[in-house]
Subunit: 310 residues, 2 copies
DNA sequence: GCCATTATGCTTCCCGTGAGCATAAGCCTG
DNA sequence: CAGGCTTATGCTCACGGGAAGCATAATGGC
């Protein structure tokens, strides 16, 4: 059956969500003036999907990708790229790296990821746009549903996704939030109402912003049980720097003392012996990641505290 | 770059891990006399990968798939199926269903999943084969490593994967276990030593047993935080029946009272009002799944207790 | 020297989980 | 028909981790 007569021509494409981070914000590698994620064809020379992606990204960033993980494979019919009769299968990956200057002329650049998802950053509390724009729009959408059950379901979905009413904010729901905004026409990618008052945040080409949302969700979930944050850290760092990076990724503030306790108890780091005179305040000790835990706890749990501060 | 001259021809294939379960064991849908997972080409008529898979499986089992989730996409070069110059991309899915008679003539049949992974069933304690065959073989493999660090690393990997020494058994590591057995040549799929004393369990064609191991790992992880078990249950069931199914999936015995407490506290089920006169013992109440939780907790946590009994 | 700022150590409270003890309700056996 | 066996259910207790706060130690800036 595989070789039918009316065979569709297939193409395969790799799309990468490459994440780096500093204490201020997570950064993602983009192309086309920040409007697309890096992507490239899956070529016959590639040994496997993952090695293809690795080679491809490292060529551009000149920096090795530490951690790489497959995100999702899409092949929706309405997703045909390039306009031909060719069906494209897109395989997306999440990769972690350290930020380094991009090769000039490639159009590649690093961007703050909250530029695309302003509503995902709650480190300074709930962004105003949620209350002034998003919540009202979702409320209207819920009310416009046919029949009470549908209306209730919509209101409930919105409340869970955006932590409205008395629901708690769940930082891992970034994909659901984007999908909800897409479904309700609040992001320009949905086409419908480019003029209408929509959600804030820069759009991307194709469905790249959705893929980015998938990557954010995956990474936010992952940092809670695997020591992957360290892939984003410099060789030596203070505990506060580590906390700031985790907070930047999660988009939430953490309780300092508990964060330190958890890191300490799990023996994730060891002192380098050095100290650093920060910008005011008592000097902090420098730590490095204990590479050994990658072997010891190859799979076991390594939880990061995600309890809100204050 | 997408349309190069020396273009590799691509084919895409969908592979399904379809799981059902009874109180005795989880069951998987197979073809070719239990030696392969159902798979089929991804056709141009399919709207999306998932809808393609759904249509395809439902046609064969005549039963709707409740829950469907993408597992992984492979395209390793050494995985070329069919021998041609054609590169195959395989997209695997996990699906949950209720067991129903398979359509005759299709070669499809349901199989106990522990037939392929005897070492994954610890409901009656550690299977003898681990102590008599697997642990010694892994021990020899570890000792044969070049250099002390490699030997230590190997011993550690084996201990973590199979819960040797003082390590706790982690039921979610089914994929790592299979990969370890593959790497050490203990499963016939590895080719090397078909004659040597290997691990027990029926092999499968291609890399299907590895895909099944991936599905098992995913499902075992999933039942802990999402109410997916109910997709496998009949409309009404006793709490013990529910527990038995969870135990069958996890391959571990659970503490009865705690299991009930957790189910009760989360309000996952409601009484149907009926009772059932079991095989001896006090009659049990019948319950049904509260569909409402799917909306209420569309994403929040729904944990199943996986604490060992006794 | 006093203040602002950050680093660190410890303590308390609360809740979920892991384990058992005890009782209720049928069925089966002698 | 009583006693024993088996499964259903209710409850208690102890422990450990997580969430919040209080308190003290170092520095640099005024």
């Amino acid at each position: 059956m595989t070789g039918g007569a009316e065979e569709t021509r297939l193409a395969a494409e790799l799309i990468a969500v490459v994440v780096a981070a500093n204490e201020a914000a997570p950064r993602i590698l983009t192309v086309e003036d920040g409007k697309a994620l890096p992507s490239g064809p899956f070529e016959s020379g590639h040994r496997s999907l993952q090695s293809g992606l690795r080679a491809w990204v490292e060529e551009r960033t000149r920096h090795p990708l530490g951690f790489v993980e497959q995100l999702y494979t899409f092949a929706d019919r309405d997703r045909m790229v390039g306009g031909g009769r060719r069906r494209t299968i897109s395989i997306s990956y999440l990769g972690l790296a350290r930020e380094a200057p991009t090769a000039p002329g490639t159009g590649a650049s690093w961007q703050d990821w909250y530029r695309y998802f302003p509503w995902e950053d709650r480190r300074e509390g709930e962004p105003a746009a949620i209350r002034t724009v998003i919540a009202p729009a979702l409320g209207a959408w819920a009310k416009s549903g046919d029949g009470a059950p549908l209306r209730r379901e919509r209101a409930e979905r919105a409340a869970i996704a955006f932590g409205l009413n008395h629901q708690a904010w769940n930082e891992e729901l970034s994909l659901q939030r984007y999908e909800l905004l897409y479904e309700t026409g609040l992001v320009p990618e949905a086409g419908e109402a480019a003029g209408r008052a929509g959600a804030p945040g820069a759009p991307m080409l194709h469905d790249h912003r959705r893929i980015l949302a998938t990557g954010i969700a995956r990474l936010r979930a992952k940092i809670k049980y695997r020591p992957v944050v360290f892939e984003l850290m410099p060789p030596a760092f203070t505990l506060l720097a580590l906390q700031r990076v985790v907070e930047a990724l999660a988009g939430v503030q953490l309780h300092k003392q508990n964060f330190r306790r958890l890191i300490a108890r799990q023996e994730l780091v060891e002192e380098t012996g050095g100290m650093i005179a920060e910008t005011g305040g008592r000097p902090a000790r420098l730590f490095r990641f204990r590479r050994a835990v990658l072997r010891e706890r190859a799979v076991a749990g390594t939880k990061l505290p995600l309890a809100p501060a204050r």
